[in-house]
Each structure stands twice: as structure tokens, then as C-alpha cells.
Symmetry: C2
Subunit: 321 residues, 2 copies
């Protein structure tokens, strides 16, 4: 019998939150906390795939590359993404192995460098909007725009930043490998940072592109490709809000796909935060997925018992009792 498989997505800020300095020791402690949560899901009988974000980490790496640019040729964003898959994959993998050892669970962990294909004709490429990396002076920004053909925009009065496209993922390249590994009982860390974006060029070959793939969209795609049983999106809040900040503001414990789509159309969920999560959930359910759970790490255990979190489901008939 095929095991029950859960896919859990969480942001890069779970390992490097805004209010920390980004010290390695801090990130290690955060990885440890994440590992405890992940292993608690394994102990509930799930096989597990983990997709993490990399926003703060790749931002830091781009700053490091820029600071040393006169000594060492910097890498492009796709290669930097791959590097954060390395550092974060290692920290998470080691913390999970240790947590498994503490519970005497005999389970191997695979952390995979993951390319994710995007459409070279994705309209997002015509309108890059996602700021990445350091703030530059106007002079340096103009130079980079000329030399590297980067799109530079002024950002929050602090200087100029590069903006890149955020295309939709269309294929998680090693999804066959990921499925086999997780079905064989391995914990798999994959598509970190939403994956390394690649296009298939005119010659049918893979080519890296400077872009940011939303990690919730990549997680949703992978959840569909592997046909997982439970898709969990961890975020900063316990439950999704409707009419947030208004007098009739309300937390919701269940959303059907139709309700979620209506709220999306009504602009209930801001594009930079809850919007992509709800959209990722809708795409997963519409492709036949059973249930998406959106909640905060500290409430995941309660949410898995239907006592917290927001569930997105196909219809009310399927609502858990």
C-alpha cells in the first residue's frame, strides 16, 4: 500500500526571521525547531516532502557577491538559488537527522538540488516586479542596467534594486526521483526557494534564468506531481482572515475552492502574502488534491486534529467532522 504523504512548505524567514541578525547559530537553532515540527508529522504516520523558501538567505548571498565583486566574479540569481538549496538543505537535513536519532527513528533524508522549469514565454518575463539583492547607488545601478541588462528600480527611498520576473512553475524536474524517494520512506527536501528556475530554449535545452519562483506555487505543483495526501502551508498566522482590518473581520476555519476563488477575485488576499498561498491551495485542490492546511508552525499539531488552522477543501460535503 502506498504510504500517506504530506508536503509541507514554509518560508525562508522561518530560518532567518526579520528580527534576527542571520547568524549561522541562529539559523541552526531555527532549523532545529523546524526539524522538531517535521519529525512530529512523520510520527503521525506521514511520509514527508519539505519545500522551504529562501528569500532572506538568497538576499544575503547576493549582497556578499556584490561586496566581493571586485575580487570574485559574482554568480547569477539561479546559481545563488542553488547555493541556498545547499546551505539550507544541509542545515535542515542535519537537524532532521538529529531529531530522528533522538526518537530512534530509522529514516534517511535526501536533500536534492532542484531545477524547476518555467515557460520562456511566461508573460511575467515582460514585466519583472520582484526586487532581489542589495540596494545600489544610482551610479552603480545604471552601470549594472547597461552591462548586465538588469531591470533596476528605485525601492523605498533606500536606493536602487534589481527586479526580476516571477513566472509560474510548470515542471519540478526531478519529480520522478522525489516521488520514488518519498514512497520508499525517505524524507525529501526539494525545490528550496521555489526551485532553480530554468527555461527550455529554442534548441530544447535547459537554460538558467534570473527569476524568482514563488515557493508556494512550486510546492503546489510538486504536491500535484507526486499526488500527496496532505499539503500544508506554514505561515505567520494561525488562520486565514476574511475582511482583514475591517469591523467584520473574521478568521475562517474552512474555505471551499469556490469561496477561496471568490475572495481572491474580491481582493481579500494581498498579492505579496496570502494571495499566492490561497492560489497555490486552489490549484492543488482543483487538480484533485484532498485538503490544504494553512496555519502557523505553533498551531500545526492542533490544526492536524481539526482544532486550528484554515482548511481549503473542494466542497462542504467533504468537510471533516
Amino acid at each position: 500500500m502506498r504510504p500517506k504523504i504530506a508536503l509541507v512548505a514554509f518560508g525562508g524567514n522561518a530560518m532567518l526571521p526579520d528580527d534576527q541578525r542571520g547568524l549561522q547559530a541562529e539559523q541552526m537553532r531555527n532549523a532545529q525547531k523546524a526539524a522538531e515540527l517535521m519529525v512530529s508529522i512523520v510520527r503521525k504516520g506521514y511520509e514527508l516532502i519539505i519545500v522551504h523558501g529562501n528569500g532572506p538567505q538568497v538576499g544575503n548571498l547576493l549582497i556578499q557577491m556584490e561586496e566581493a565583486a571586485n575580487k570574485i566574479p559574482p554568480y547569477s540569481l539561479d546559481v545563488c538559488d542553488a547555493m541556498t538549496e545547499g546551505s539550507m538543505g544541509f542545515m535542515l537535513e542535519r537537524a532532521i537527522i538529529n531529531e530522528l536519532r533522538r526518537h530512534s527513528i530509522d529514516k534517511e533524508v535526501a536533500s536534492l538540488i532542484t531545477q524547476v522549469v518555467v515557460d520562456k514565454n511566461d508573460p511575467a518575463f515582460g514585466k519583472p516586479t520582484k526586487p532581489v539583492g542589495p540596494f545600489y547607488s544610482k551610479y552603480r545601478a545604471q552601470m549594472l542596467a547597461r552591462e548586465k541588462k538588469w531591470t533596476m528600480v528605485e525601492d523605498s527611498g533606500r536606493g536602487y534594486r534589481k527586479v526580476v520576473a516571477s513566472p509560474k512553475p510548470i515542471d519540478v524536474v526531478p519529480n520522478g526521483i522525489i516521488r520514488e524517494l518519498v514512497e520508499a520512506g525517505r524524507i525529501v527536501i526539494a525545490a528550496g526557494g521555489g526551485g532553480i528556475p530554468v527555461i527550455i530554449n529554442g534548441n530544447g535545452l535547459f537554460e538558467g534564468v534570473e527569476a524568482v519562483i514563488d515557493k508556494d506555487y512550486a510546492a503546489s505543483l510538486l504536491a500535484r506531481e507526486v499526488k500527496v495526501d496532505l499539503f500544508v502551508i506554514l505561515t505567520a498566522i494561525e488562520r486565514v482572515f476574511i475582511n482583514f482590518g475591517k469591523p467584520d473581520q473574521a478568521e475562517v476555519s474552512v474555505l471551499t475552492v469556490d469561496e477561496a476563488k471568490k475572495h481572491l477575485a474580491d481582493g481579500q488576499f494581498p498579492p505579496g502574502s496570502m494571495g499566492p498561498k490561497i492560489r497555490a491551495a486552489v490549484e492543488y485542490i482543483e487538480a484533485g488534491g484532498r485538503e490544504v492546511l494553512i496555519t502557523k508552525d505553533s498551531h500545526l499539531k492542533a490544526a492536524m486534529l481539526n482544532r486550528s488552522g484554515t482548511r481549503i477543501i473542494a466542497s462542504r460535503e467533504e468537510e471533516p467532522q
Copy 2:
């Protein structure tokens, strides 16, 4: 029937040679060359594991971390190793996928973040000898020695460098996963840079350490753990020399383990270059391996037909005809 499996090890300088600047475009082209060679081995009917070094790449990354140290907290060497597994794994994987597509070979590639266990009591830790990362001024070197407990030595009159231990690898952590993947027909990139060194601490938990694992030793260990059929070590020369630089200098096409050990004892192979390769070969054959091939990338095809390279074998009776 179990497929024939080859493990190929090559240095980080194959992707970033001394005479290049280290531009990403250069490394991509070198990855393409390496990919052509790797796929030629696949086309000879072998399943394939690839172990690459990371010397120049991790050196560059440590310089980038140091240059930005006043803005972004730097990572330790083990995390930097993981990051080069990301960047190099991605570049190689993409180039291999493209080369497979050119030949219409339907084969997936897995690039794994790889921890390698070393003994916390390895005598190497008492005597760190391997210089890594940037040259520092005397002042900064003293500060780092005090603050981070690094061992700093003056190096080649250009300043001070950190030195770390080079312990022997004792376990490639995900070797079960690597074996399964390669037996299932996947090309596996693993233990890049010799792997990320970890010790098992007094509580039985994994802990990262700042050390350098020789990639040929790690490759030899993995070759034994997976029981590969052919172990190839690529280097800068076509064949191993005996009495190098002396009047009776000679290239050798075959070395038995006993001959190799005698030459090692006689100091024929310098510790920084051919020594570890010969030792890695001896360890593999003594554990029951059939054959090690040491040669240069351009001569690998001829070497696989017994027309070039140096073979290390158990005894003359097994010498190929």
C-alpha cells in the same frame, strides 16, 4: 541483473582551472565539457556516480564571505561546502541533462547534498594542515584566531591563512539513497568537495566541523559502499609516473596494489597530489574493488579501451589483456 556502475571523481579545477578567472560563463562551459565526458561513459553502458572537488569554488566563496563580513554574518566552512555542492551540482546537472537530451537518452539526474561522517578523534584534528580561504593581514589573522579559535599560519609570504584538518571519511551519509538511485538508472552527483564533514558528538548527534575531506578518499569510500564496478580518478596527467623527474622516469600502465603500496612507502607520490589518489585506489581495491583507472579527461575514452591511463589492480593475474 544489477547494472554496471562507474564512479568518476574529478577536481574542482576541472570546472575552475587556475588559468581562468572563475567567471560563471567559463564554469558553465567547463561543466559542458565534463558533461560530454560523463555521458560518453553512460553510452558505454555504465550507470554513473559523479564526485567532484570544490577547492577553487569554496576558496572563492570564503573570500566573498570575508569581504562582506561587516554586512552579512559569514558561514563556516561546512556550510560553504554545502553551498558549492549547490552551485556545482546545479551547473553539472543542467549540463548533463542537456547532453542527455542531445543524445535522446531518457535518464534523470539527482544531485544530492551530502554529509560525510569523520571520526571526532581523527588524529588530523590535532594537526590542521590544509589552508583554506582568503589571505588575511597579520592583525585580522590574530583577531580571527582569538575570536573564532581558528588556526592561522603564514602562507607563501602573501599573508596569513586559516588551516583546517583533513580527516579521513568514514561514512557517506546517504549511501543507501545513492545506491538505490544509481541502481534505478539515475545519474547521481554526490559528495561534492569530498562531502560536508560532520562528526557524531558525545550525544550521538551530527555536528558540522570545519575540515576538508579529500574528495578522492570520499570517492573511494563511496565506491566501496555502493560496490561500484569501475572507479575512475581523473587528474591532470595521462598516466602515473614512477621516478618522476629522474633519469629513469617512467609512465606506468598497470600497478598492482603491492607495487602501489611500495611506491607510496618509497615517497614516489607527493602527498598533495598523486599520493591521495593512489591511496584512495589502494583502499578501494583492498576492499574488493576490481579496478581503478587514473587518467586525464582527454584520454579517458582510450583508457577505457586499455590504450591509455594507469590501472590499479589487485594482482598481475587479473591484468586485462
